[in-house]
Amino acid sequence: MSQKPLPTPEQARYQQLIKEMEPPARYTANALWAFFSGGLVCVIGQFFIDLYAAILHLPPVEASNPAVATMIMLGAILTAFGVFDRLARYAGAGLAVPVTGFANSMVSAALEYKQEGFIQGIGSKIFILSGSVITYGVVTAFFVGLIHALLKR
């Protein structure tokens, strides 16, 4: 395979110039937005847990299942109406990290590839963004399960 070429002095100087001039990403502002919007998403989630616990007479742990489903549905509906990406422009990780982000990644992919048909489009491309979450989720779960089983013996 080819050796990685070293940057020439000219390239190095240029890289340095870009670094100097690059406008800084607004990390602090973005982090604050993410913190509060993420908190808000969690408060809404908690509201549904309490709601389902109260009206379905479920213990809180079990009430979280329908609550998660509701949040996924909300994320999917907001994506379908083209609102999610506008909110995410500000909220960033606050919307992406909770389960709403997962719903968005799948629904946006499904919408995008509808033109290519149900089999080669939606069917295979729906996991184009979220596929790695599932792959590494399963892999991690396997190892955690293995360690758990070994320690228990």
């Binding site: 870009i18 607004r26 994506t79 999610f84 990406d85 909110l87 422009r89 960033g92 946006s108 995008e112």
Partner: protein, 327 residues
């Protein structure tokens, strides 16, 4: 050019968001929605280019019979938009790919073929569509993510230009073909920085070849470096070539959007359509109005593919310069 070919007519079509542009009054057609009534964004882009070509022909009162060659390129895989348009027009066709530099690559080639006496009339066109490009290069359009401050917004638009030997319009006096430059930038969201050295290289070679100086032009304009890339170019060309570009230098990407009103465009516009609609639509009309007599357009292109980026390769870039003069 021995006998400079003339751009006798142009056609530009843009999307609804570009219809909000400060330059909107200089575009021929503004689409009401992003799909242009088509079933997919790819078909919408085909329609964009088709309408721009027809508009240019209509303005010049020419039909397909009067045109010897169609030269076009776009951003979609296998330059499919251009292929379909060539089929619709039924003309002899050369497909060109120069990423966002395609507008000047196609026009420059057409001008050279005319000046060489091989053809009499050429139609050149290029296009890009925000949603079609986003899905090919980045993420699904409804996917929520944040843009970097140096990111750029793909222009939905198409531009076509009709070149021939006789008539009224801007004359193509010089073409400087770009060389690939690679300064090791790997971030496809930072295209301004990747492309600036290509523009600088072509500009310096153009000035050396023609023995002209920046002062000889009323306007020097780059294709789609964006505000950030344009700033880098100013610094870089001063450092490597000792040239001070001053206020006569602008960038199409920075001009096309109102960046204060629409902060989501970040550093500005990009895509094949960006330089095409700004130059063919706005700048040529400014020349007709007498604002500029001689301009230099340097269309810049980042020649990466989604695959090369995923394999962590650098972004090679190119820039083609064309000088126009209004008699």
């Amino acid at each position: 050019m021995a006998t400079p070919p003339i751009v006798i007519a142009t056609g530009t079509t843009v999307g609804p968001f570009e219809g909000q542009s400060p330059l909107a009054k200089d575009f021929d057609l503004i689409a009401g929605d992003l799909t242009l009534g088509q079933a997919s964004f790819e078909l919408a882009e085909r329609e964009l280019m088709n309408s721009a070509c027809l508009k240019a022909m209509q303005k010049a009162k020419r039909t397909e019979k009067d045109i010897d060659l169609f030269i076009a390129g776009d951003l979609l895989n296998q330059i499919i938009t251009s292929g379909f348009n060539a089929s619709l027009l039924g003309l002899p066709f050369f497909g060109v790919y120069g990423a966002c530099s395609t507008s000047m690559a196609g026009l420059g080639l057409g001008a050279m073929l005319i000046d060489g006496g091989f053809i009499g009339t050429a139609l050149t066109a290029t296009s890009s569509h925000y949603s079609a490009a986003e899905r090919q290069y980045r993420y699904p359009t409804e996917y929520g993510n944040q843009r970097r401050p140096y990111g750029q917004w793909t222009v939905t638009g198409a531009g076509a230009a009709l070149l021939t030997t006789q008539g009224k319009g801007p004359r193509v006096t010089h073409v400087t073909v770009g060389k690939m430059t690679d300064f090791g930038v790997k971030d496809p969201l930072n295209m301004g920085a990747a492309m600036a050295p290509a523009a600088a290289d072509t500009m310096l070679r153009h000035f050396a070849d023609t023995k002209r100086m920046p002062e000889d032009y009323d306007l020097i304009v780059t294709g789609d470096l964006g505000e950030f890339g344009a700033e880098i170019l100013r610094r870089w060309i001063k450092e490597t070539g000792g040239l001070e570009l001053g206020i006569r230098y602008k960038d199409c990407g920075a001009m096309i959007y109102d960046r204060v009103k629409y902060p989501q465009v970040a550093s500005g516009g990009s895509g094949c359509g960006c330089s095409a609609v700004v130059v063919f639509g706005h700048l040529f009309r400014e020349m007709e109005r007498g604002r500029y007599r001689r301009i230099l357009v340097i269309a810049t292109g980042a020649m990466h593919s989604p695959t090369s980026v995923m394999q962590k390769q650098t972004i090679p870039c190119i820039a083609h310069a064309v000088a126009f003069e209004f008699p």
